[in-house]
Amino acid sequence: MPQYSTFQPKPYRPRMSPYWYLDRWPYLKFMVREASCIFVAYFAVVMLLQIHAISAGPAAYVRFQAWMRCPLILDLNAIALVLIVFHAVTWFALVPRVFVRQMMGSAIPDVVAMLPNYGAWFVASAIVAAFILRLI
């Protein structure tokens, strides 16, 4: 008589690599989107320092400007700008997935859902530019 053993399944349980986000571009894009919030905080701190320098008087503001002109800060700001734009664009792209369709009650094109954000971004940028260029 042949001896049969009952099947004892021992499934293989995969474990994710700590570097899973390098496997595919969408995952890397997600990680960059999330990590770039650090630079949003960085710019907020720079703005607070700028306001502090303005309130401390002309001499302090000149020192702040000199500090902002040093190559290291210029490079850091350039990197921060690129990553913040990336952060904003990728988050705006999520808007159709989050609120608008539910609020409107029916499906609307993704581009239309994103427009209010880009509109607000443009208006805010225009106001800042007007201040910098001394138009107002």
Binding site: K10, P11, P14, M16, W20, P26, Y27, F99
Partner: protein
């Protein structure tokens, strides 16, 4: 172009192997062949011990989901020729325990589906004498989420599920949303109580790949984000109007 293509298939024997490895097969490259046809050819002509799930061959049953070159796909509707000149690598769906070769264990997934009570819940014991009437607009509200075929590609694409298997996951939430939005259903409060737990909707970090890989355009990511909004509104209501019925 060559008339054959190398297909690398994940092999795992639960009583022999500690972990999966890949085995290469040379299969005919035909313009009308899907990846599933290549696997069927291997099983029929080259190695009958290869194990994989399939059924309808027309993108409806959701059985043949696998990783094709690292991306979750229904192999019955993925053209083999798109991967020419190859090689093309086929593995079991990511994040699931592997039973053998390309067959995954789906018990956990089935448990998650059941947990969200995916059926019409009525508070009363009323047994209708006729069908519930629904307008086309009421049907449209949830129709998108009825298209889910439980293929689990969204789970294989979700890194959150991979890192934390207790996460309820995209398809189960989409199914819960399907019943929440159904005008005949009255069970949204109890589903929200279940899905607002730690391993429910709040684990989702909006990677969004679940919606990208969905073969039926169900958009489970949308379902999860809508659910977050609903849960938030309910939470505020309980604070602002504690006397009210959520």
């Amino acid at each position: 172009m060559s008339d054959t293509i190398i297909v690398e298939v994940a092999r795992f024997h639960p009583e022999r192997d500690a972990e999966p490895s890949y085995e290469s097969f040379e299969v005919p490259l035909r313009a009308d062949w899907m990846v599933l046809d290549a696997l069927t050819y291997i099983k029929d002509q080259l190695d009958g011990s290869l194990s994989f799930r399939w059924s309808c061959r027309m993108g409806i049953c959701g059985s043949c989901g696998m990783m094709v070159n690292g991306v979750p796909k229904l192999t019955c509707e993925t053209l083999l020729i798109n991967f020419a000149p190859g090689p093309v690598r086929i593995g079991p769906l990511d994040h699931f325990p592997v039973v053998k070769d390309l067959v995954i264990e789906m018990d956990e997934f089935m448990g998650k589906l059941q947990k969200v009570r995916p059926w019409i819940v009525r508070k009363d014991d009323y047994v209708p004498k006729r069908e519930f009437i629904q307008t086309p607009a009421q049907l449209d509200a949830f129709k998108q989420f009825t298209l889910c075929i439980n293929c689990m590609l969204c789970y294989a694409a979700c890194p959150v599920y991979g890192l934390d298997p207790s996460f309820t996951g995209p398809a189960a939430v989409a199914l819960a949303e399907r019943y929440n939005l159904d005008s005949r259903d009255q069970g949204s409060t109890e589903r929200t109580d279940i899905l607002s737990q730690h391993d429910g909707i709040w684990d989702c970090t909006v990677v969004g790949e679940c919606s990208e890989v969905c073969p039926k355009d169900v958009d489970p990511s949308l379902a999860i984000q809508q659910y977050k909004l609903t849960a938030t509104k309910d939470w505020f209501k309980t604070w602002l109007m504690p006397w009210g019925n959520k």
